[in-house]
């Protein structure tokens, strides 16, 4: 079995989905089925408007039968993110938290200093932190030092659909941390880009906008599931790598020379 291990939880799906921006909750449900996702993220702040329990939308999300990864989307300070994480633990009864500390509103670029600080606090408190970070190698190291056991580097800014803007940085991360589960989070727009991340050896892909805002979200979810599967198989199969010279797949030695 080719399982993904996240904080001791074994999962067979390598495609995580966000739950925002779908035309309707019914459409979200069909998309999650089509993607065969086992983990969905939920934004506490954006979707709730306040910490009142038993929200019908959350019940709906809980009814999807997936593991829930609550996130701190929209938090701009360490305090805000930590408070939201506490709220999430209570509401969803999970130690999992996708940690976002936003540093810039236009690009939704993570504030990596705040991120490391919040990660340290939450890890000490027993949370299992999934930090949404950049592809910066140094920051990745600090997050691991802080106690994170999973990293979620971006491919491009959230919702931009620009794909893997710096493949070199992503490869470097993979090479430096071969044993840490790495999930590309944010910036994926097309299934081919998700496949490319998986071919590099990334463990999983997390997306939302690319599916939710597609003309047909359910069909796009299925397309992403197929791409992530293909990319994973390619990685496991061992890609041949590039070379400078052509190398014929059929030997030419001994062929009759007519020309």
């Amino acid at each position: 079995m080719d399982d993904l291990d996240l904080y001791g939880r074994r999962l067979s799906s390598r495609l995580l989905l966000g739950t925002a921006q779908y035309p309707s909750p019914a459409c979200l449900e069909h998309a999650v089925r089509a993607a065969r996702s086992e983990i969905v993220t939920v934004s506490l702040r954006r979707e709730s408007g306040g910490p009142s329990g038993g929200q019908p939308f959350w019940k709906l999300v809980q009814g999807l039968g997936c593991r829930i990864l609550p996130n701190t989307a929209g938090c701009h300070t360490v305090k805000d993110a930590v408070t939201t994480a506490h709220m999430a633990r209570e509401l969803f009864d999970t130690p999992w938290i996708k940690l976002e500390v936003i540093g810039d509103d236009d690009t939704l670029r993570p504030d990596v200093f705040g991120l490391v600080e919040a990660a340290r606090i939450l890890c000490v408190e027993g949370f299992e932190v999934f930090p949404y970070t950049t592809d910066d190698l140094g920051v990745a190291g600090r997050l691991l030092d802080a106690g994170c056991r999973v990293l979620m580097p971006w491919a491009a800014p959230i919702g931009s659909g620009r794909g893997l803007t710096d493949p070199y940085a992503l490869r470097t991360l993979r090479a430096h941390f071969p044993d840490v589960p790495l999930i590309v989070d944010a910036g994926i727009g097309l299934p081919s880009q998700a496949a490319a991340a998986m071919e590099m050896g990334y463990d999983a892909v997390l997306l939302n906008t690319a599916v939710a805002r597609a003309g047909d979200p359910v069909r796009m979810a299925a397309a992403f599931a197929a791409a992530v599967g293909a990319g994973r198989s390619a990685w496991l199969a061992g890609p041949m790598g590039e070379r400078d010279m052509a190398s014929p797949s059929t030997p030419v030695m001994g062929l009759a020379q007519w020309t």
Binding site: P23, S24, P25, R46, S48, G49, G50, S52, R213
Partner: protein
């Protein structure tokens, strides 16, 4: 129209856009309607009081099911035939230069629109001259002032012999022997377990400097908003969509987002007065489409979500057809 329900008494619970449109459709078929409204006047507690009042079936295709576009088109002729003040001036869709990709995306997802350039935009909305280089023009859409429309609909129903009783908190089981149309909105969630509340917030501004002739939508990857002109220089800016049944006052975050969008449309709106900040909770089913749910003598008409004025005509007419068919069977 024939009057298949001539003389038939029908009790309607709720005088929001669902209840009033149902009453209009049923009394046109001859029914004697009595509406029972919980509050003391039209509009109080009704989320349709907070609505934008856009009859925009083509724009709404972006982010909604095809049915919304198809069924919403009836609203364009249905409302003008029943209430005064429906303006058929289309919709203008704009985006700031850096969000130009949003316009392309919307153009791909919708139909019945045309591209307009800076000159075209200035010709449609002179006060926006020079501010935008490109936009989408949906010529065949309309808008109304929801508050005036609800009041006019109520007046039309009473003129037609219908009766509206206010301050009257009833449930479908309180009526004996007559068909009941349950239009209680979110208050019906005990009978309709699938129903959920989706919070919306809006701002009403008064500007002396910026006049608009039609709804303008400003696309944004995260917080798209619309601005709908009303009489007396009023501009309604809406609306947030928050998955929560909580009816608390507008949050600072939402107010900032709405006001920022208004300011982005035209900096002169910085001098506009804030006349009202309001919130409401829309009733919605999981597919965000309305439903007519029949249970014996009771038909629930609910789940209009963000599309109260747009979709209530089509569903009210289907409701009229169903009751007529049932009445014909019984006769």
């Amino acid at each position: 129209m024939s009057r298949p329900l001539e003389g038939m008494p029908v009790a309607i619970i709720g005088a929001g856009v669902a209840g009033l449109s149902a009453a209009l459709a049923l009394s046109a078929r001859g029914a004697r309607v009595s509406i029972h409204e919980r509050s003391r006047s039209i509009g109080r507690n009704a989320c349709s009081w907070m609505a934008g009042g856009m009859l925009a079936p083509f724009c709404e295709r972006d982010g909604a099911e095809h049915a919304v576009c198809e069924r919403g088109q009836l609203a364009l002729t249905w409302w003008p035939a029943r209430v005064p003040g429906v303006t058929q001036a289309g919709t203008l869709v704009l985006a700031l230069p850096r969000d130009g990709a949003e316009l392309e995306r919307m153009a791909m997802r919708t139909h019945d629109h045309a591209w307009v350039d800076g000159e075209g935009i200035a010709a449609l909305e002179p006060d926006l001259a020079g501010r935008f280089r490109r936009g989408l023009w949906f010529a065949n859409e309309a808008h109304l002032d929801p508050r005036k429309a609800l009041l006019a609909a109520a007046a039309a129903i009473e003129r037609d012999g219908g009766h509206i009783e206010y301050d009257c908190d009833v449930r479908p089981g309180d009526f004996d022997g007559v068909p009941v149309v349950d239009c209680r909105g979110l208050a019906a969630c005990d009978d309709l377990p699938d129903l959920r509340g989706v919070r919306g917030e809006m701002v009403i501004l008064r500007s002396r400097d910026v006049r608009l002739s039609r709804p303008v939508r400003l696309l944004h990857p995260r917080t798209p908003v619309y601005i709908v002109p009303r009489d007396d220089g009023l501009l309604m800016v809406g609306a947030t969509t928050v998955e929560s049944p909580d009816g608390h006052p507008v949050t600072v975050r939402s107010a900032v987002e709405l006001l920022n969008a208004a300011y982005a449309l035209h900096p002169a709106l910085a001098d506009a007065e804030i006349v009202e900040l309001g919130s409401g909770v829309r009733p919605a089913f999981p597919d965000n489409l309305p439903r007519l749910v029949e249970r014996g003598r009771v038909i629930a008409f609910n789940g209009l979500y963000r599309h109260g004025f747009l979709l209530s005509p089509w569903y009210a007419e289907r409701l009229g057809d169903r009751l007529s068919a049932r009445y014909a069977e019984a006769a």
